[in-house]
Subunit: 319 residues, 2 copies
């Protein structure tokens, strides 16, 4: 078990995270597009976390988790079971502190991603491609090494780190009145909501979720966490079920989750390339798809739009 799994971070923890990661993370640019403003009827400020170290916002959370450890905790390294951007981010973050990163990788995971995690210096532990095998192997690695589990989205310090995106964005683009992030496990959406409302309680908060993995939208509609959704979406970064505490934050901060089809998301991904000149992961394009699908909720507003990742295979674009 992680020392901090489960509790939502306070705003102070998010500000501490910003100071902690400042020597390691990049201040990512905010880009604008006249054409996308015209299409949406809104003023869109795109926070380009696809240009964060490792190509995704995940570095913020992982870096904060790694540097929040005491020296005694850190000595045993960190452990996770993500073969996606979080695994890579944790490996890079561990390297900044010179500690070991153990990443549990299921057989069959994308080879290029695994190679990137290995290049970043992590120690790989392979397991069968089932949730049970992953958890068993993770527990075994924790026992064997004494390493600290850094969960991809349910860890307090991870959520605090992701919240720093919003601290930065609100400094770079003052006067925003709405904010939208993708919703997967909810690490970013919850950290962002806490940071946003601490700074400006009147900010309208939105989430974007694939129709084929709409457990957060269903959970908010039903008033309790829906865990029966079987993800069926191209948005590989958003297939995780939203965490229990993450969902609490979405509910407490009245995050309006908009669902979009993969076709709508792919069209938005093309627009982000043609008009903003950014190639982002398909998961990242859900936010623009949501804005264009529900124009009436955004029209006339100044909207912060978080683009979460840019780790794309240009030879396998979804259009």
């Amino acid at each position: 078990m992680s020392y901090s799994l489960g509790n939502l971070p306070s705003f102070e923890q998010i500000r501490d995270a910003a100071a902690r990661i400042a020597p390691h993370a990049r201040v990512t640019p905010v880009l604008r597009s006249d054409a996308l403003d015209a299409l949406s009827g809104a003023e869109l400020h795109f926070k380009c976390e696809n240009l964060q170290r490792g190509g995704a916002f995940k570095f913020r959370g992982a870096c904060n988790a790694v540097w929040a450890l005491s020296d005694a905790q850190a000595a045993h390294g960190v452990v996770t079971h993500s073969s996606g951007n979080h695994g890579n981010a944790l490996a890079m973050a561990a390297a900044t502190r010179g500690i070991a990163a153990h990443v549990v990788v299921p057989e069959g995971a994308v080879r290029a991603k695994i190679e990137a995690i290995e290049r970043a210096g992590a120690i790989l532990h392979r397991c069968a491609p089932t949730q049970l095998a992953r958890e068993a192997m993770t527990a075994e690695v924790q026992r064997a090494t004494g390493g600290v589990l850094v969960h991809p989205y349910a860890d307090t310090q991870v959520m605090a780190g992701q919240g720093t995106v919003v601290l930065e964005l609100l400094q770079q683009a003052p006067g925003l009145d709405a904010l939208i992030t993708p919703v997967g496990g909810g690490g970013l959406a919850s950290g962002a909501a806490i940071a946003a409302h601490a700074i400006n309680p009147s900010l309208s908060l939105f989430g974007a979720e694939p129709l084929g993995a709409d457990d957060a939208a269903q959970s908010l509609a039903h008033g309790s966490r829906v865990t029966t959704v079987v993800p069926d979406t191209l948005c590989d970064g958003l297939r995780a079920l939203v965490g229990e505490r993450n969902l609490d934050a979405l509910r407490a901060h009245h995050v309006d989750v908009i669902t979009v089809s993969d076709a709508e998301t792919i069209a938005a991904m093309q627009l982000l390339w043609s008009e903003l000149k950014q190639v982002v992961e398909v998961s990242s394009a859900t936010v623009l798809a949501a804005i264009l699908k529900r124009r009436e909720r955004f029209a006339g507003r100044r909207v912060g739009v978080v683009l979460t990742g840019g780790n794309v295979d240009l030879q396998a674009l979804p259009w």
Copy 2:
């Protein structure tokens, strides 16, 4: 004939240009990459003009030329014969002033580029695909409309506008000791050289040129303008022969022009995507190719690297 074809701009004209285009042009971000720093042994500061309006630095020069006109001159509109980024930039710039842009387009030019120019509001004039036909049609359009010719790189106000890239970069990344831009017609390279040395006379200046269109390198080596080069390169933005005055500026400012093969440039273009997450035009990647080819000239230095354009067809990548 343009009112200003031929003279190199002064530093004051470049500063005037910066003020003139400020309401219309974007302040583009400067990006960094640990991996590219490690590969080059230098500290690279990438000025992302691929994120300029219209997807290329060309908007700066075109915008300055359009707004430098008197009302009487502007009333007749502007004329050019570029079917590439300059034609598009001039159309966009003319639209900001509400004047006509006439663009002479040879039969056989890339359809997508022509459509973009038309979407930007230009009036197209088609001609046969020869230099003679282009010049004749351009002269005819000038006579018929009274419009002012805005040459893509030999126009004083265009060069002044391109020089603003460097004003901006040196504010964003203080302490640079070297600078590199691609060299085509030389509008950017000459404007950049004048601006750079006015601010810091000890800056080392470099140019990057495709081996298959190395007329600037040959001209500097031979001491006079070589006009016999028949361009043979994938770098479509760098096929123009360097202008007479542009060459004067390269010579006066001791710009060291490094030639690179298309294969070296394509490898650099891939690195700019994988490490910087920017898809740039092949012409734009010459600068990184040159740095990696002549590491000894850049190692240990803080280098400003101008990425010039991002109008790429993702379905037709050169690798």
